[in-house]
Amino acid sequence: MSGGVDSSVAAALLQEQGHDVTGVTLKLWGGASDSGCCSVADVEDARRVAAQLGVPHYVFNLTDDFTDSVVNPYIDEHAAGHTPNPCVECNRSIKFGRLLDRSEALGFDFLATGHHARVVSTGAGAYSLRRGVDGAKDQSYVLYMLGQRELARTRLPVGELTKADVREHAARLGLRTAHKPESMDVCFITRGGREAFLADRVPARSGVVVDTSGATLGRHAGVTAFTVGQRRRLGVVTGERRYVVDIDPRTATVTIGGSRELLRNEVALRDLVFVDGAPTGSELHAQVRAHGQPIRSSLEGATVCFATPQPRVAPGQVVALYDGDALVGGGIAT
């Protein structure tokens, strides 16, 4: 229970369904400043909702694990010129890693969260992860790493509802989180934004901005300010619209080019995983960002081939593969 409306309603729905529910809020970050996703106010909201539902509530301090598994890799990835998705790593290592293990050790049957996605039984003890009913809020993308072991023990009750339904349900129950705004940003980055966060943690190493022929167009203060596909704040004045097409962290070289130079026919993935074995059909759709449009694709080995050329996927981003609204698997773009 993050203290937001989705997990509040998830707890309420499970209780209505007759489950014996226990609420948990994770303290992941904050230390002395106690800001961001695990602020005292958010914990208090979660605690009050749990009290209103009459269920026990605990706060688990997983700050060490979060730092090791999410924040430090996030910094390292950016230092390498990549574009990591820390929410995905948190789901993998913390929520559906440490928390799922802990819930199992304590004898709980299921772990439920407020994610907008659906766990569907496909018979014979197998499970499928489907997009949430509210397409605009679907979060199956950030859960692409869940395998059969995790899905068998996971419940995502709000995936059956639209966000409007969720808020209506919360309002009907009089939950204090009913009208709380959504959090959109990376929880451990608060004041100053991503660049300031990284500037404090990655030694700045200036380098050059070049075009695709290798001609120098200007200089930059460090590669962490750039993402493949970025077209604003390139620090270089050119006549036409330009995009970052490559980042070489070894030489601190940022290459920019036109939109055609950004196009790729494929993306190679590392750490490819499948929800329930490799897909048999060839007709898949790839999603390359949290709320991106599905792109008709096929999978050859660990390479996703697009039916039509697409802007290059920034290394470090998740590519999730779908068959209809069923998640097939995914990996990290290289």
């Binding site: 904050g30 695990c38 605990y58 199992e104 050790a105």
Partner: protein
Amino acid sequence: MYLDHAATTPMRPEAVAAMEPFLRGTFGNPSGGHAVARAAKTALEEAREEIAELLGARPAEVVFTAGGTEADNLAVKGAARHARVTGVGDGVVTTAFEHKGVLASCDRLAAEGFRIATVALPASGVVDVDALMAAVDDRTALVSVMLVNNEVGTIQPLEEIVARVRDRAPQALVHTDAVQAVPWLDVARATSTADLVAISAHKFGGPKGTGALVVRDRAAPEPLIEGGGQERGLRSGTSNVAGAVAMAAALRATGSARDADSARLALLRNRLVDGLLAAVPDAFENGDRAQKVAGNAHVGFQGVEAETLLVALDRAGICAAAGSSCSSGATEPSHVLAAMGIARVDALTSIRLSLGFASTDVDIDAALTAIPDAVAQLRHAGAAA
């Protein structure tokens, strides 16, 4: 089954009875001049006299506060700031396992330019007085050492510390956080030579939000809260009459029962710890039991995270604790165990079981069943994962 008396105790019936008239009828502001005010003033001053007597102080030396943390803040920040104003010194010497009320005050003083020396402890949990004294010098303004540690329950050699500070640095004041000592020690005797002594009512059967600081002659701390000049100008604000009266009643009841309670609870505590160490493989005890108060048990179970174990115990009806609670309710790794040089992995697998006047054989029996069961279950799950 409540085994968290070091966090807070249930109220003693004597304290509830004592405060009730001041919640229902006698509502006056003791600072006023009329009959209603006088009744409250009389009760407040009678409570002060009683507390003074039980703490071995004069009534004028007892300053009511809103608890132990405030008393520690007033003592540490107030005394240090006064010493700087008078030119006595700018050094504060304390231990690394003090309550946060002392440590955070020292952090504040450090930011104000004071020299803070924080002395680490041995694994016994009893301060090495030689190491402490090595940090004391001619410009030391204050030495602050708790009488009993809140996590591991160890008793500190306060009389020896005071004597040696007087000898080495006669200008320095000595403060002791005696918050955890009241149920177990004759605080009047143990703190008779200290200049500043902090207590908190809810640790010995009184209400929350009420405490006191004994401020002896030599000490003249700068106030933290200013206003109407109550409490000799050391703590402005309308007096908590009901709290003071209840604290006095709780202190009296605690003193009367102390010797019998301590003897009885030491036996229960020993049965609990020895039972756990015998029943659970790879269990260990933190702090030197021979130097602890009777109510403290602090044990660890290798490979079992305290945070998980506490949830399992809560579900089994056993209330225990680990580390110290932060404002969000998450358990922070114990700074006390770290100060004692205990490895982080051991600290994160250790829990505190603290007994109090309400503890009985039934609690211990339940704990001796539930804890080994929970540890076994969590170890089994951990091995399977």
